[in-house]
Amino acid sequence: MQIYLPIAEVSVNAFLLLGLGGIVGILSGMFGVGGGFLMTPLLFFIGIPPAVAVATEANQIVASSFSGVLAHVKRKTVDFRMGTVLLVGGLVGAALGVLVFNYLKAQGQVDLLVKLCYVLFLGVIGALMFVESLNAIRKSKKAIKSPKRKQRGWFHALPFKMRFRTSGLYISVIPPLIVGVCVGVLAAIMGVGGGFIMVPAMIYLLGMPTKVVVGTSLFQIIFVTAFTTLLHATTNYTVDMVLAVLLLVGGVFGAQVGTRIGTKLKAEQLRILLAIMVLAVCGKLAFDLLVMPSELYSLGAAGGH
């Protein structure tokens, strides 16, 4: 069934959108990532204008994250305190990111920089997670319990310490604030929720238990993407409600299924799956940059200088 999208001004198959929403929703629930880093490129591939894809995806992430977080709230795996600290950083970062985005747009190179950001971040994070979880699996197979690493030194010497009961941490608010800002900037530039950066940052940098990481990142993503949606809707008029509804109908149900699957898998397996997916998307984007495109010319709205 073809459906016409009023803002994107293209006609697409409704079932294709529902299916894409569903698949990305499952992944979102499983890994606590908004799924934007997968959905945004997929939307480009089916012919949605990039500006509309980025803005609408932000709106869809709100829905799937909200649906996902409710399941985590019930299981008490959301660290609201940590989430709020990350959120404060995230909002500042998103505003900064929009400024950077507009500057790059004026230079006419925004597409390239967005893609390079994807390749760089997905590549580095994917590789790190892959190696780390592979090691973890190997260790657990040998049945040797590795002592829990505790980061010491400058990290714990920082001021403004706060107790995060749910995570069982007593650390300074500065590292989570910085993580929040970085994620906010990247989220605004790359048009994603930022979960794929935040989840590893929370595990490896802040030392949060994997159990609360997913719920807490979903909590933060809801508000940052809601803020981004409003920014796009009021400045660029690029949020397509019909597209968003189709994606989120599939997405919210997918997220519920995904959360259930996620609880049945071991943390290491979860991480290695996410790492493989991140690397796959990275590889595809890098391939597109390296191989000569079939059409060297592209059309864009005038006034991009």
Binding site: Q2, N59, V242, Y297
Partner: protein
Amino acid sequence: MLRALALFLVLTFTANAEEVVLGMSQTQVSITTNFDGSEIFIFGAVKREKAIPTGDLLQVIVAIRGPSEPITVRRKEKRFGIWINTDAVEVDEAPSFYAVATSAPLDDVLTATEDLRYKITIPQAIRSVGAPMTVADSQSFTDALIRVRTANNLFQLNEGSVELSEETLFKTSIAMPANLTEGEYGTHIYLTRSGKVISEYETTIDVRKVGLERWLYTLSRQQPLIYGLLSLAIAIISGWGAAAIFSGLRRN
């Protein structure tokens, strides 16, 4: 999809010996929720007071042209091992849609001078004056614009697709793709003999979003904050709804 309004429009040119009497399957294209392109049938007759002139045969050109807008055409080049946008040319005016249908091969129907005068073919419809000094081959950018739009069915040249019988009755159909820009689509019918335009007829097709499409589009432009909040409300409600349904299912 096709709304056969079959509205006959009659217009008389007193000065010409041969004139067009035109009928169209529709003068309005409504973009609805399930809009998937539209096919417009254009049919008509040549009205004349005298007998059919001898000599070269009468030919017909039908052209539908969407609203024009400036476009930036960018070209990629390999730099540092990756393909990136380098040169850009701003094309001052390019139609968002342009279909030309003729009753015979274009060269037989229209001379180059007449084409220049009436701006009938696709390259004539594009206006590009100001290419930056750094770009030497601005023509290749215009060619690329035509190539990309032709690949998307936005530019069409259908030679010989106008059926003409007895030099009097003609009919053709033009397929419009789904990704249309809203606005007035100028529709021109030209009658030619020995490559010269002898009569011209003009009407418009109105392409508009209607119903839900129109409402959402207007809201997003005029009340962007409300539109944004509405989008968020839908997102939150459906997110919550799905969670509620699922937890309900699990309990049972």
